[in-house]
Symmetry: C4
Subunit: 238 residues, 4 copies
């Protein structure tokens, strides 16, 4: 059995648990969705709730996993069957500290069609890097859609590549970031940008979306100022 | 008068009453909508609230009916005039344990047009079996739309056939399942899938919806994991 | 000065005040919108709140007006400037007991285009009678849109004719009924039907809406069963 | 350092802080957005919260700035980096007393396309004057979108010209008015009008929107009656 990355301070666990409740409060998670973070003391371990509706998650529900998604100290708790999505992204992306996985309706719509998501405004600037779509059929044929093996997680991580967001066809999305509040921010504003894009496309004509360079520099501001939103979001759920 | 299927334990009645309140809380029911379950002790009896707005239903409002929709022990209470919808589906579908009937706007839209509903994501996998539309005009001509006779209920059950969901033209939908939480789950995610499909269709091009086999195996996971969502939904209304 | 129709019992005044708060709670009224009823003791008087945001209206805010929209006993209170809309409909339509006037966005969209509203489902059956559009420009040229004279109210009443609902171009809608709960019901389900129609039209093809006769007989059921919804709606705001 | 415009009475500061919370409550602001007003005692000073999520703003968070956006008495507090948007509009528009800046999704959609916003109904009558779109690329090339210099603020003010509302491409909107409640009103009903226009355009055909003269005179009524809405909005957040 893998060794633990060591104890994690209570405030970090509470922030991690709050992230799930925040994404419910902000309309990104429903009765499902999960959020994880890399262990602050060990780069090859990650922290994630036991299998539980995100609105109900507290610090005591957080478990520790190695990159093979084995629980370090399960104590009878069950992890989400989709934890492989998280484990393989943490393995493939050393720059990623936190991951959100949701089933946001307006985002799923883009994963079902050929219309690419674009960055509709500065808050969604990170989308200007491009939003790849993972179709599980390409490597795995007919499945139950769930990312429940290391191979499926790795295939998703490969499609995600170096991007902040990827869509999963007929399933949902994943947003990653180098900090917990930024991953929450990206999960939220991916949804808002999708909503805007649906309306803007319906208006017709070319869309004056952010281009790649506008997106890159606008996102620097988002990362710098995320604390202002985080303070509010956290206050609303604690 | 038919004999009762016998007393039903309080927890079951509370779950049945909660199902209606859950569907209000989740935006599926408004001031109308009804939910029923087969009597756990007698396969030819079913349980359903007296005629009451679903948000107000408690365990004490549950009545018992035979398949002809006669109340076993009315004690002055009135059943919904649409209980025939439930009775005839229970009669025709021995595999069905619970039934939800709602008037969800985004779903009704599909029942008015020729665009078939499809399964937009894994949570709505059960829709991949196909979603028939019942048009009351075909057998009954001009009516008040209400399923208020055994003949109308039977005609709907015939259109539903072996499917989990059917639409009622200019009226609503019905979702059935072999357990109470799964019927609630299907009523909720039929609506979400409809919302996604409206947006995805507007994007244009072919939709990469779940195919029948993906849907069949993805729904097995839904059925296995429904407890996680049910615990949350119930907690929110009790 | 006109004579009063006499004292009105407290329960009636409370229902009338509740109607406004209900329409806020149900998302039909925002910071504006008004609801009136004919005086139960005098057919040429009507009751309506002083000018106040509908969410704040209580029984003590109800004023009495004659058909010329003069307050019977103002006691320093000001009526809505649009009370002429109500007065002239009560004058023209002896069958009408209650009137709701709202600025519901999804309904206004229909008043701006040539697409007629139709009855999308049984709850909106009353729309199957046809939904005329009042364009204030036709008789009054360029105005501030407000129904602030008897002539404008009468012109609207003429367009409404014998229908339950009319749209006001670039303004809103009016719903009338022979009872207070039914007027509330019609205001609510006109909005829901508009929402459905937007989605159904986007799906393309002909719409299998209720025809005039289906609508007529389906609405009889609505009128008979409105008490079930009314009890819920009232409980939510009291 | 500039001299202060003098002390501001507590009720004014509370109204200014409430304006931000109102715009959250009404769905116009999310975790961002800011609202400012001209100093009542000095036409070349303005008042605006320190950098904080709008839902959390109270009277104690209000700072005073000169037209170069220097804080008069910062006491360690930081202003929003976009305060230049406010400063330059106050400089260019002596008639403006209050300014709201939001990132409303349905409005942003119009700023990304060539479809001009129009006044869909009387509450949005102020839009009939025309709604210009500011594209920061035109003068500043590739940027991070933020209005963080006097030059960018001035360029926006130039595009706004004498209008009540302007859109910022891929960013948001600004609404201005000669009183605080009217600026709040305009921020709210710009969003509602955008929502209506999306639906009305989808219905097809020409839109019977308010023309310029209808809009001009209808807006006079809005300004006269805004107190009724303001009382409600303020009560909801205090």
């Amino acid at each position: 059995m893998s060794k633990s990355g060591g104890p994690v301070d209570r405030a970090t666990l509470e922030d991690l648990a709050a992230a799930s409740r925040i994404l419910v409060d902000q309309g990104v998670f429903d009765s499902a969705g999960h959020f994880s973070m890399r262990h602050p003391g060990h780069p090859e371990r990650f922290l994630m709730s036991r299998s539980l509706a995100p609105q109900m998650i507290t610090a005591d529900d957080i478990m520790e996993f190695d990159f093979d998604c084995n629980a370090i100290d399960a104590r009878g708790r069950n992890g989400f069957i989709e934890r492989y999505l998280h484990g393989e992204i943490f393995r493939a992306r050393p720059d990623v500290l936190a991951i959100a996985h949701s089933h946001s309706p307006s985002v799923i719509a883009f994963g079902l069609s050929n219309a690419p998501m674009r960055a509709m405004y500065h808050n969604a600037a990170f989308l200007a890097a491009g939003v790849p779509v993972f179709d599980i059929r390409e490597k795995f044929g007919t499945t139950d859609i769930v990312i429940n093996t290391a191979a499926k997680g790795a295939a998703l991580a490969e499609v995600l590549a170096d991007k902040p967001v990827a869509l999963l066809r007929a399933h949902g999305m994943v947003a990653v970031a180098s900090s917990l509040p930024v991953a929450v921010f990206r999960a939220i504003f991916t949804v808002t940008s999708a909503n805007i894009q649906h309306q803007a496309l319906a208006l017709g004509g070319p869309l004056a979306a952010l281009d790649a360079e506008e997106g890159r520099i606008a996102d620097l501001i988002n990362v710098q100022t995320v604390g202002r939103a985080w303070d509010l979001w956290k206050q609303r759920v604690t």
